[in-house]
Symmetry: C2
Subunit: 285 residues, 2 copies
DNA sequence: TCGTTATGAAAGTAATTCCTTTCAAAGTCC
DNA sequence: GGACTTTGAAAGGAATTACTTTCATAACGA
């Protein structure tokens, strides 16, 4: 689909680009770009990585990705299975305020919005009334062009700026601005981890995927993700475990094994550490 | 000399014991006892370990060791060399306020002193005017007996209680109350480390001295000393390096090698980290 | 009260970190 | 200027820690 890091295709004078994805699964490679990305999930679900955040997306969710935040929407495995009618359907709006530089960008009325957008450097969940309003606005954007589309996006930004509109999901500000080589390497590694998170993965294996020694890989991974490989893998597995706990009736033990843990006792402890409650508690309220 | 942990020999009704050591070197095994120990160094110098403190002692120094603080005054190697006339000479006063329980211990006037003594659980340097006064008082103690000695010690405690009299050298409160087995093990280990600190010592070697696996030894050592083995060794080596820098005219490089470092660049960095200044700076003011 | 889940302690093992080396280069002091 | 010292960055490896297993036992819920 695209190369990493990629330029969002847009006429150089446009500061927005509107893209509808409707496929069995989303583009599944980690990538980054300077444009802000508003993402409206319509169908399909799976795991989302945005900066150092690891979580899940589902229909109705609206996410905002800041400048150069590495991210990937990775549809659930089942979507890949043959014979499935699964779809991944979303609308992405890419915004680049800087493309306005010549004209509107410097007018006083936009200063505040400009500053607001410039400091978006994380991964956010759009929530509350703003989410609903933005969902409407984004869908109304498609038929528009020129000034109409511009106005639509400005209205969207207006919504995003509302006090409670954004919930920041990422913590560190550190994962941005990876070199192209690093993004590629990380993409390979994370892809591998996501694909195999349901089984044991020795450090040696992922290190090999990254073409590095174990020690060098540890350093690289920690430096770029702010987490150790094991910790990251645990978080990845937790997204899956939570999913199974909430949406299936498997026992805790079976969820543990299905999520890549070989040891129930250990799963319980890791779950409590990361989620703040025991698997059983989580399964209820 | 004594077994570890030992009871300071004293008539059971005495609450103080006065001991003069005048030998080529001090008792060199780490040990602990519930009695407070006031130590007046007259001759000889070397390394002192008290709780988690690692440093040097020299004539004139006065130290106070709290209840059950593992400690050892280890005379410098040269004192062990044959043909040397080196002496290690010190006065130790062991105090056990609890031995007074039947009588004076509970009288109101002593409550404050009692509380003061009870909370002495570290390794302290006695400093300032109190040091000089205590030096006098301790030396005047020898001829005394009975009430005279009791009064002398009370005067000493009075001095110790002065605001600036004690400078706490140890940090953690954690190394106390080792089991007999642990003290023995630690004694063997620390003795080995002190004896060999001038050369490279692989973890495996000390672990063997402690009869443990490398990992178990790391856990044991960290838990009991609050420092890692390497860190402890570095501090040990630093006492030696500082000594050489101040009292010989060797170059920094030669001091580094003499202190057990195989790498000058590395020595410089470790020295700066632990001492807060570069070796050269330290050598001057 | 049984089946399942949660928690504690101890020890083995794998992962991660930090120590250490190396090399290069810059700073300091006679 | 030249010997010596200090500092930086990068990488290898030893040390240390964290993860994981195991076993025992407690707590929970149907």
């Amino acid at each position: 689909m695209k190369v990493i890091p990629f330029k969002v295709p847009k006429a150089s004078q446009d500061f927005i680009r509107y893209q509808v994805d409707d496929q069995p699964y989303f583009y599944d490679k980690l990538h980054q770009h300077p444009e802000l990305q508003l993402s409206l999930v319509l169908e399909g679900e799976g795991r989302l990585i945005g900066g150092d955040y690891i979580g899940r997306f589902a229909p109705g969710d609206v996410f905002l990705l800041g400048h150069d935040v590495p991210h990937v929407f990775r549809s659930d495995e089942q979507s890949y299975a043959p014979g499935q009618t699964a779809r991944s359907h979303a609308i992405f709006v890419f915004m680049d305020l800087k493309a306005l530089s010549g004209g509107l960008y410097n007018i006083t009325e936009l200063q505040e919005a400009k500053r607001f957008c410039e400091q978006l450097t994380g991964c956010y969940r759009v929530q509350g009334p703003a989410r609903e309003e933005i969902t409407r606005l984004v869908q109304a954007l498609q038929p528009e062009a020129g000034l109409g589309r511009l106005l639509g996006v400005l209205r969207i930004i207006e919504q995003l700026m509302l006090p409670e509109a954004l919930h920041c999901l990422s913590v560190a500000d550190q994962m941005r601005n990876l070199s192209e080589r690093e993004v590629k390497r990380l993409e390979r590694v994370l892809n591998f981890m996501m694909t195999h998170s349901h089984r044991a993965i020795a450090l040696e294996e992922v290190a090999a995927v990254a073409n590095m020694s174990r020690e060098a890989f540890c350093r690289f991974f920690k430096e770029r993700t702010r987490k150790t490989y094991v910790r990251y893998l645990q978080e990845l597995r937790m997204t899956n475990a939570c999913q199974l706990l909430l949406h299936t009736d498997q026992t805790v033990a079976s969820v543990a094994y299905a999520s890549g843990f070989a040891n129930l006792s250990h799963f319980n402890r890791v779950f409590s550490k990361l989620m703040g409650k025991t698997p059983r508690e989580y399964q209820r309220g």
